[in-house]
């Protein structure tokens, strides 16, 4: 037996002694610092200067200034790394709110085209909810998203399972159970029971129309305990449709940076309230035009309508869950490099019960650290 062990050990030693360098790499060793396995870190800072014509206004949502002047609207620390062959780790920590916005593991090697993500995460609902502020084309979070899923987006601890269908075109089905929600859905802490779970579901398909054109469509549904009197079994439901069309010419001699992208999200919501049932519809549509590598401009319209249920009163709190709203915005963004941007935005906002509000915003965003990657 000792001889066998010695043989195995010597084989292992021989294996470890084999040169690991690929062809062309230097043949000399390299001193290790000890931090080579650390996650890739990045810090993103958003500073916004704002002016609103009306002091009394509807709250503007996550990562938005709350008063005229200058504010730090976001300072996010992100970390990501491969855990091992089977898992990936990602985290986003808000240094302004001192809160983990997301912290997840993601499987890399499950069979059957399945993938599981666990931890705390933003639900994949529509194109906006799962995004962080640095991926937005505007300074402000859309109000319909805020009415539906809260100022910071629908995010909570949970488990998500997604399946990539074995079809010739991209089709992905995503389902999750999350302990608690935001916005229309009850925020729970800790001792949630089965009826308290929020269950988002999304089917997304992508079509390569040509090298220049692409189309993505998504169907979304989410249900869970209503934020209003859940103790008596009130529920909330939201159903949505999203559409994304992008044109980016790539012919020889094109600049390759010009593009036009159109995104639309439309939602219908049913929210059970004490002795009432509120039904609403709303959505967001934006058109982003990339002028060249450094400049882009964008136009956005937002709409929310109460369809059924009692009018808002102080007693029923309906105002917090969505007032009739029309909002239009135009933005101009300058990108000095991949790691910084300066954005100007004007927004005209009309929310029932409030005077027409004119908003002017200037945003400076900088990112330091690892080179971030963008999803489509």
């Amino acid at each position: 037996m000792p001889r066998i062990l010695a043989g195995i050990l010597s084989s292992l030693l021989l294996l470890s002694a084999r040169p690991a360098q690929a062809q062309g790499e230097p043949s000399v060793g390299r001193e290790l610092l000890g931090n080579e396995m650390n996650p890739a870190l990045s810090i993103i800072l958003d500073t916004v200067g704002s002016y609103a014509s009306e002091a009394k206004r509807v709250p503007l949502g996550g990562h938005a200034p709350t008063a005229n002047g200058v504010a730090i609207t976001g300072a996010e620390l992100t970390a990501s790394a491969s855990v091992d062959t089977y898992f990936r780790f990602d985290a986003a920590f808000s240094m302004t709110d001192l809160e983990l916005e997301e912290i997840t593991f993601t499987t890399l090697a499950l069979p059957g085209n399945l993938q599981v993500r666990g931890g705390k995460f933003l639900a994949r609902l529509g194109r906006h909810n799962a995004t962080h502020a640095h991926a937005w084309r505007f300074v402000l979070h859309p109000l319909p998203s805020q009415y539906l899923f809260g100022a910071e987006g629908l995010g909570a601890p949970g488990l998500e399972v997604s399946w990539l269908a074995p079809l010739p075109w991209y089709t992905e089905l995503v389902g999750a159970v999350q302990v608690g929600g935001r916005g229309s859905f009850l925020e729970t802490e800790g001792d949630a029971s089965g009826k308290d779970l929020v269950t988002p579901l999304r089917l997304v398909q992508f079509f390569d129309l040509s090298d220049d054109w692409a189309l993505q469509v998504g169907l979304n549904a989410v249900q869970g305990p209503s934020a209003l009197a859940p103790g008596v079994g009130n529920r909330a439901y939201a159903y949505g449709f999203d559409l994304f069309v992008k044109w980016r010419p790539i012919g020889f001699g094109e600049t390759g940076y010009s593009f036009v992208a159109w995104t639309t999200e439309a939602w219908a919501r049913e929210l059970e309230a004490p002795l009432d049932r509120w039904r609403d519809v709303g959505g967001t549509s934006d058109l982003v035009v990339g002028l060249d590598k450094r400049w882009e401009t964008a136009l956005r319209g937002e709409l929310w309508r109460r369809v059924e249920g009692a009018d808002p009163t102080e007693a029923n709190q309906r105002a917090a869950f969505g007032l009739d709203t029309e909002r239009g915005s135009v933005a101009l963004t300058f990108l000095p490099s991949h790691f910084s941007r300066v954005r100007l935005q004007y927004t005209l906002e009309h929310v029932e019960g409030y005077a027409v509000n004119h908003l002017a915003l200037v945003q400076v965003e900088v990112s330091a650290g690892a080179h971030g990657a963008h999803t489509y």
């Binding site: 062809q23 491969s82 062959t85 085209n113 079809l167 010739p168 094109e254 600049t255 390759g256 490099s337």
Partner: protein, 293 residues
């Protein structure tokens, strides 16, 4: 409704019965070399279109399908694809093509890097691992062919000899062409050029040309009129012959520089599949022709 089932079923079966490794390359040049080495034994798909800027590709979800079904992913590395490839790899649900997987080949590990720099973004969008545009040097084409052949041989040992034989044939042909190209370039050695972005460092190193300036003030930062005005004097004083530019960058300032100085603007193909370039040899031939024109 049941009539709709046979089509996806057939498509599923077609993927099951497909033989040989499925190779996905980020840029078509790596794919072209893999096709030379793999021949009919492999299928090759490239994600970047030949006229696109590989730094800023849109991470189309359809690429997830390519990576999901891939046996081998060839990447340029040196962070060229850092802005779009990682989320695709994660979504692919394919352990082979993750970093460290047996189907993941960072081709920058096959070549001797140039322009290795300290990581400091105040110097622009630098690549600390080295300049990633190494495929323009045909000597690296040889190294890539050998390295890709070895990885294919490891993935598909039953055809290892075939891959190595094809790599030998490709290298032999390429080395023959390299001698011819060098003969054509010899009278032009020492030619000074201005480039838009430092994409041509390896090509110029192999060709014996001298890079005398860049339109970009720093890597990834678009040129400003002031910076270009400063270049005008340098081009005139040093007798710089060419302004070399990739097809996906705007030409307004490089045209202006050429007009003001008499240098010739060359908008060059950057990848196999662009204008007049259907093979890796064809790409190098086009570049040599442009440099000796």
């Amino acid at each position: 409704m049941s009539l709709h089932w046979p089509i996806p079923l057939l498509l599923l079966l077609s993927t099951v019965v497909q033989a040989g490794p499925r190779v996905v390359s980020t840029i078509p040049d790596l794919g072209a070399i893999a096709a030379e080495v793999g021949g009919d034994l492999v299928t090759v798909t490239s994600l970047v279109r030949p006229t696109q800027d590989p730094h800023t590709l849109d991470a189309r979800p359809s690429f997830v399908l390519d990576l999901n079904r891939a046996d081998l992913l060839l990447v340029v590395g040196m962070e060229l694809e850092a802005g779009w490839l990682p989320p695709l790899q994660v979504s692919a649900r394919n352990p082979r093509v993750q970093k460290g997987g047996d189907g993941y080949l960072d081709c920058s590990t096959l070549i001797p890097p140039l322009d290795v720099q300290t990581a400091d973004r105040s110097k622009g969008d630098v690549h600390p691992g080295g300049n990633p545009h190494y495929w323009f040097d045909p000597r690296n084409g040889v190294r890539l062919a050998r390295g890709i052949a070895e990885r294919l041989a490891a993935l598909d040992p039953g055809h290892a000899a075939d891959y190595r034989a094809r790599a030998d044939a490709f290298v032999s042909r390429l080395e023959g062409r390299m001698a011819e190209w060098q003969a054509r370039l010899a009278p032009r050695k020492g030619t000074r050029v201005v480039v838009y972005h430092r994409s041509w460092t390896y090509l110029l190193d192999w060709a014996g040309f001298i890079e005398a300036g860049e339109l970009e003030p720093k890597p990834g930062i678009p040129p400003s009129p002031d910076h270009v005005a400063g270049l005008v004097t340098r081009v005139q004083q040093q007798g710089i012959r060419y302004v070399l530019q990739e097809s996906y960058y705007p030409t307004n300032l490089s045209k202006l520089l050429a007009e003001k100085t008499g240098a010739r603007l060359k908008v060059l193909p950057t990848m196999v599949g662009a204008v007049r370039t259907n093979t890796y040899e064809g790409l190098i031939e086009t570049l040599v022709r442009e440099l000796t024109d």
